[in-house]
Symmetry: C2
Subunit: 194 residues, 2 copies
DNA sequence: AGGGCTGTCTACCAATTGGTAAGTGGGTGG
DNA sequence: CCACCCACTTACCAATTGGTAGACAGCCCT
């Protein structure tokens, strides 16, 4: 039953582990034990730890990109931004590991970062186009879309995921706080962009 | 010559390694070899890898906090923000590992994160006070200062350090680009805060 | 001169890591 | 019915890791 079943379970567990503890701190043995399976089963489905990590990136970040594009589809102007931010926030609350994996990948850099860049390229392209269009329409202040994109990304990602930073200013990562945080983030972005 | 000399050299190398490659990916052996010294020398000065990491946090993040407070001293309003951001950017360009260490520490969470929080508490308190004051004066839009703080932190930190994200939108981390990035970031922040 | 302290080294070690080799059992197709 | 293959296991292994034990050389103090 189902090689594919086991494969899927491994991918899920890997996403969780890599996304929260990080690549180096995740051992195949731990992963296997947590799955009730031997380490060699993992190595059977994915040839090596690196391969597993890559597969995890492809699966997880790919779906993230799809979700973001879906959130923006058919919308223009500020509502589009709002919708994407809401989607990212929902993911950050429900599957923090998925965004964690994104961050971990960029942190490690190198080949993995390239891999992720490919997965996300369509989203970035779409976002850049969106910004350019909005600027031309006069709905957004005129500047380098790339730099705006980086600022916006950093802000959203940080507010959505940096639990320890939140704690540092005395905000506990509860659901209620997340709602407030999202609202404030949207106001922040709105002020910055238009 | 210097126990203190060696100690200092170890701390420098540790800051660099922990801040760029991360805690788990940094082995005492590598560190020692890079210093032209045996691993046991490191363990003599700092009892364990954990102790070394803590000492690194104290030294590096502490100095960072001092630099930020110094940058803000005597200034009010927008020029204060500008000065602090410039300082952080200068550090990001000249000693990327120092901000990397900050990020690594928040990433690892737990006891280390607490340690760092203590080191940075004065800076955070000062920043919160600043924001509250500026809001009362009407120089800044009225909202929860804590949340504004998180947004601003995330934006600055991200734009200053996330090399891979920059690459993803086609920005190479050159010095010239850093200048443009800083200018755009300041505009972004100015629009968002006031 | 010699006892003690400091800083560094050599010599080990147990645990953990990612990975290889060689089965094993059960289901399927010819 | 039997050969084969798929999913998974047991049995190892070499390398790396953080850490301990203890020797040794220089220096300071008396």
């Amino acid at each position: 039953m189902a090689s594919s079943d086991t494969r899927e379970r491994i991918l899920d567990a890997a996403l969780d582990a890599f996304g929260t503890r990080g690549f180096d701190a995740t051992s195949l043995d731990d992963l296997a034990e947590h799955l009730g399976v031997r380490k060699q089963t993992i190595l059977y489905h994915f040839g090596s730890k690196n391969d597993l990590f890559m597969a995890t990136i492809d699966a997880a970040v790919g779906e993230l990109g799809v979700a973001m594009i879906e959130a923006g589809r058919g919308r223009t102007g500020w509502p589009a931004v709002e919708s994407v931010v809401n989607t990212v926030f929902r993911i950050a609350v429900r599957e923090p590991a998925r965004l964690g994996l994104l961050r971990e990948t960029t942190r490690l850099g190198g080949a993995w970062s390239n891999r992720m860049r490919e997965s996300l390229a369509p989203v970035i392209e779409k976002a850049r186009l969106f910004l350019t269009l909005e600027m031309r329409r006069g709905n957004m202040r005129q500047t380098d879309p790339n730099l705006v994109l980086v600022s916006a990304y950093s802000t959203v990602m940080g507010v959505a995921t940096e639990v320890e930073v939140l704690r540092a200013v005395g905000i506990e990562p509860t659901l209620r706080e997340a709602v407030k945080r999202r609202r404030e983030l949207l106001r922040f972005l709105e002020a910055a962009l238009r």
